[in-house]
């Protein structure tokens, strides 16, 4: 679901949604993904937004566009894993930004991460 209440720009939401569908195995390597105009109509988001999302996914090697024949999920067996890693990097980048706002030194940030990790392991 693409939402305008979500602070992320629409094109990023479209990218994340496709990544997610690949990560959970709903879309498999080689599967065809909807055409740009089809996805635009289905999600009620402009054609140019979907185009941008597809273009970036293509550059990132997530999808592959065959000239005049639409797009499909790239033949990359490592895909699901690397997508999860990208997700992790995004969360860590957000944490680094907040730490910078709090003027938290690097060693303290890393120490906080260790504490949180220990806390969650104890909870299990």
């Amino acid at each position: 679901m693409i939402s305008q209440a979500d602070p992320r720009p629409l094109y990023l939401q479209v990218k994340e949604q496709i990544r997610h569908r690949i990560a959970v195995g709903e879309l498999k390597p080689g599967d065809e993904i909807p055409s740009i105009r089809q996805l635009a109509a289905d999600s009620r988001v402009s054609v140019i937004t979907i185009k941008r999302a597809y273009l970036e996914l293509e550059l990132e090697g997530v999808i592959h566009t065959r000239h005049g024949r639409g797009s499909c999920v790239a033949e990359n067996p490592d895909l699901g894993h690397s997508l999860k890693e990208q997700e992790l990097d995004q969360h860590l980048a957000a944490a680094v930004d907040v730490a910078a706002l709090l003027r938290l030194p690097e060693d303290q940030l890393i120490e906080r991460l260790r504490q949180i990790r220990r806390g969650r392991e104890d909870a299990k």
Binding site: Q4, L10, A41, R44, L101
Partner: protein
């Protein structure tokens, strides 16, 4: 003229028209086929005037207009077979039913799609046997939209289509508009105050203020170029003049800087001056609209 399909739904070149208290001044605007253009501007900016000029409803003093590849006003009648226009002040016959209007429009336009009209009746929750005079403002608007959509025009021109519609009807309308551009040979021009709608479905955005085009470009580059930076300016530090900075406010220690052409180089320039960047924020179309209109008004004064 060749019979090749037009590449653009319309184009306006150096279009001008004066009224007693208002002047539309040298407008240049075009819409490639298959795209949706959101036309945004404050009240009295010239949106409706531009649309009326485009459709040959009023005459221009200077400039060139092409609609579906045809010159206006010379061949506007031919062009209009493929164009449907809806405005929020459009009035139908109050004594006649919606069904009567549907038969009437169907008799005028061979492209009328009867089964689509029936589907729209259901989707918009309208009664064909109801008289127009008995309809609420929102129902009336939906009826006018139905009559335009069911003609399956190649260019749909909507002047404030969502005004008077409740959120559910607005949602239905946006869905119908997106259905239209499944076909890459169809285009939509719509003016709106509702910047959230425009931001969501437009491919191209045009801002107009006081009869002049402030900016027009594809939506993604619009949203990508504008940023708001929160910066910390220590005592004694003044920011140098920076390109494409539309506004810095307030002039105190914690400033908010708005740029219309965000580049990573801006960070270096600000930090070299001795200031610190806290945060870089994206802007909504509404914020961009307000900032660019205010910016262009300031430029006009100086």
């Amino acid at each position: 003229m060749s019979n090749a399909p037009p590449t653009h739904a319309f184009s306006l070149r150096d279009l001008s028209r004066s009224f007693r208290y208002f002047r539309l001044d040298g407008l240049n605007l075009e819409l490639p086929m298959g795209q949706i253009m959101g036309f945004v501007g404050p009240n009295g900016a010239g949106k409706s005037t531009t649309i009326r000029l485009l459709l040959g409803l009023i005459g221009a003093e200077a400039g060139e207009i092409r609609l579906m590849g045809r010159p206006v006003p010379e061949q506007v009648a031919e062009a209009k077979h493929e164009v449907a226009y809806v405005s929020d002040d459009m009035r139908l016959y109050p004594g006649a039913t919606l069904a009567w209007h549907m038969r009437f429009v169907a008799s005028l336009f061979p492209g009328w799609d009867g089964s689509y009209a029936q589907a729209l009746l259901k989707r918009f929750n309208l009664q064909a046997e109801q008289r127009m005079g008995g309809m609420s403002r929102g129902e009336h608007m939906k009826a006018v939209l139905l009559l335009a959509l069911a003609r399956r025009p190649r260019l749909l021109v909507l002047d404030e289509p969502t005004s008077g519609l409740d959120p559910v009807a607005r949602h239905e309308l946006l869905a119908e508009l997106m259905e239209i551009v499944r076909d890459e040979q169809r285009s939509i021009l719509f003016s709106s105050h509702h910047t959230l709608d425009v931001e969501r479905i437009s491919d191209v955005i045009a801002f107009i203020d006081r009869g002049r085009l402030v900016d027009a470009r594809d939506k993604e580059s619009f949203l990508e170029r504008w940023r708001r930076l929160q910066i910390d300016i220590p005592e004694g530090v003044t920011l140098p003049a920076l390109d494409d900075v539309v506004e810095v406010s307030p002039e105190g220690r914690l400033a908010r800087l708005t740029t219309s052409n965000y580049q990573p180089a801006l960070h270096g320039a600000i930090e070299r001056a001795g200031a610190r960047i806290h945060e870089v924020q994206r802007m909504s179309l509404e914020e961009i609209f307000v900032a660019s209109v205010m910016g262009s008004r300031t430029e006009e004064r100086t």
